[in-house]
Amino acid sequence: MANRSPAKRASAAIPHGLGRAELLEMYRLVRLTRSLEEKLELLFKQSKVIGGLFRSLGQEGESVASAFALRRRGDGTGDMLSPLIRNLGSMLTIGARPVEVVRQYMARGDSPARGKELNIHFTDYRRGFIGQISPLGDLVPVMAGVALTFKQRGEDRVGMVYIGDGATSTGAFHEGINFAAVQRCPLVVIVENNGWAYSTPTRMQTAAKSFAAKAAGYGAAADRVDGNDMLAVYGAAKQAVERARAGAGVTLIQVDTYRRRGHAQHDSQSYMDAAEIERWAATSDPVDRYVAALTGSGWASARELAEIDRAVDAELDAAVAEAEASPLPEPFEARTDVTGDGPVAGPWYRLDPPDPTKA
């Protein structure tokens, strides 16, 4: 997984049928992801983030590159994905906006989940993403059903669902991917092997030689790719997406990467080897490697990238300012949208005068 030296790639043709504009857009997205998380970390340290903060440092590349392989439209006719907590990059790639993410983390009333759900747990069917819930694995069956409906309706749309190395141990993952495979649903399952599930190393999660090896147990196609090589991830994802779109069913792609931060901000990472983290940072940072590929291959100039960086910073400053100006939700909102039958009853003892018959 040694970093490819610019030399080796010099004057290479752009792979996977990508154009220069797309390469730059992918750069913008991965940069946006990392910078947004850095902003969030700042806000977290200022106690402006409510609840935990989850970094995807070192994994942003695969999030962006895999989602980039989807048909991204924003009008409800494109592909659909469901991310994990560390797939901020996938969300931004398919259309989530930084200001939405900041509002979510700051529990604002105008955040997509209106303060009812946290961090990147939010949904937009038109843009093509379905927010996960905390119980791991549950979105695999759900996305299998999304893909089933594409098949039922004869739509050439594809679903993509992300699952961590740890979450592959859940019954939901198993039942969902088996269902999708036997029904030949157009679904791509990205297994993110970042080496850790909270403090649990992969070897304590499963005795399987690889996660790709699980595919055969479902009759799904398998692929495995260096998760910090954005172009490789894009290539693998693109192929799987096209397979699915062509009606050839489920592909499980193992993307190997590394979680350089703790599970969340509170996690000291005491159980991790600092040298290992350093090595990944030095030799396999997805952004560095992508920049090296872009510049080393003459696909982009340092100046172009610097411009993008400036634009990203400006966008994020604006997003944070906007989010900070956002109001917290109205308490009453706690009662809305439980069912379609209107707000649920409020507490009788908060009435004036209190009246239990009105409960």
């Binding site: 759900e117 119980p135 299998a144 089933l148 039922q152 088996n178 069912t339 409960a359």
Partner: protein
């Protein structure tokens, strides 16, 4: 596919009402499912052995042939999987109806139903119009895992609706209402009622729904209110006849039909009339829904109560298999009679 099949003549077994023939509770639900499948192409069925086989109780018999494999989906043995898949399909605008081969196995999908499906609207992921249905209840020597009444496990989950009908008319009207409802509905079908000849009735030969959330007065009375549902509606009716003959008691029976949301008004109104309340359910005692009903009546009609609210329920145990054990474990007509007598005499 739907259109293609509409041209076919409807099979005999789902044309009984059209022919003015009486239907059982099972046949009523089957007709309801069939008519909704014809009415709305976004409705589809999923479950184990529901296709070629037509389901363990033959509820979906003939539907695969009529509507095809894209709308009648035989699944692997994966309650988490197909329940979650139904939610995903619902997100995309479909109206899935999933069958638990026996409702006992809904426990396997407990997380998916309570954490994912029930909270979707609240989380901002939108309504999840889906129905989870299946054969429920005891009195059939099914043992601990083919006799359960699962309502209490879900009654506590905001975002869900729960229906448990006792008559063919209600069953057909409520399955249609459930399918058309934008919220997830758990639709429980009592297998002891499925084919009971006594429940056969001729249904209106037109499209009708029974509203979710409305109880029904099964029998009018002034001396005592019995609130019940599902199979026990019929045992309560038996008891009421007997109490009228032997004790001259005039018992009112409220059939809840919908358990969530509860129809407080119907219950309270009846209690204010009779001033005595007996709650009867087949489910086990502790944590059964009788408690919630009693709590609400205490909140809303305490002053009207001339006697302590009482309940007749199953015992606090798993459901035993052997006839003498199951008979002892489950509420029987005679139990209702005795409890009602005690209340009336209070």
């Amino acid at each position: 596919m739907a259109t293609a099949t509409k041209r076919r003549a409807k099979p005999e077994h789902v044309s009984l009402t059209a022919q003015g023939k009486p239907v059982t509770l099972l046949e009523a639900i089957r007709e309801g499912l069939w008519e909704e499948m014809e009415r709305d192409p976004s409705v589809f069925l999923m479950g184990e052995d529901i296709g070629v086989y037509g389901g363990a109780f033959k509820m979906t018999e003939g539907m695969l042939e009529a509507f095809g494999g894209l709308r009648v989906v035989d699944t692997p043995i994966s309650e988490i999987g197909f329940t979650g898949a139904a939610a995903g399909a619902a997100h995309m605008g479909m109206r899935p109806v999933v069958e638990m081969q026996f409702i006992d196995f809904i426990a396997c999908a407990y997380d998916m139903i309570t954490n994912y499906v029930a909270t979707s609207r609240y989380r901002g992921s939108g309504a999840v119009p889906m129905v989870i249905r299946g054969p429920s209840g005891g009195y059939v020597r099914g043992g601990p895992f083919h006799s359960q009444n699962p309502e209490a496990a879900f009654f506590h989950t905001p975002g869900l609706k729960i229906v448990y009908p006792s008559t063919a008319y209600d069953a057909k009207g409520l399955i249609k209402a459930a399918i058309r409802d934008d919220d997830p509905v758990l639709f429980f079908e009592h297998k002891w009622l499925y084919r009971r000849p006594q429940l056969r009735e001729v249904l209106p030969n037109e499209d009708y729904v029974v509203p979710i959330g409305k109880a029904r007065t099964h029998r009018e009375g002034k001396d005592l209110t019995i609130v019940t549902y599902a199979a026990l509606v019929h045992k309560c009716a038996e008891a009421a006849e007997l109490l009228e003959k032997e004790d001259g008691l005039d018992v009112e029976i409220i059939d809840l039909r919908t358990l969530l949301p509860l129809d407080d008004d119907a219950i309270v109104e009846s209690v204010k009339k009779t001033n005595r309340l007996l709650i009867v359910h087949e489910d086990t005692r502790t944590g059964g829904i009788a408690g919630e009903i009693a709590m609400r009546v205490s909140e809303k009609a305490f002053e009207w109560l001339d006697a302590p609210i009482q309940r007749v329920t199953a015992l606090d145990a798993p459901i035993p298999y052997s006839p003498p054990l199951e008979d002892y474990f489950l509420p029987q007509t005679d139990d209702i009679v005795k409890a009602a007598r005690w209340l009336a005499g209070y």
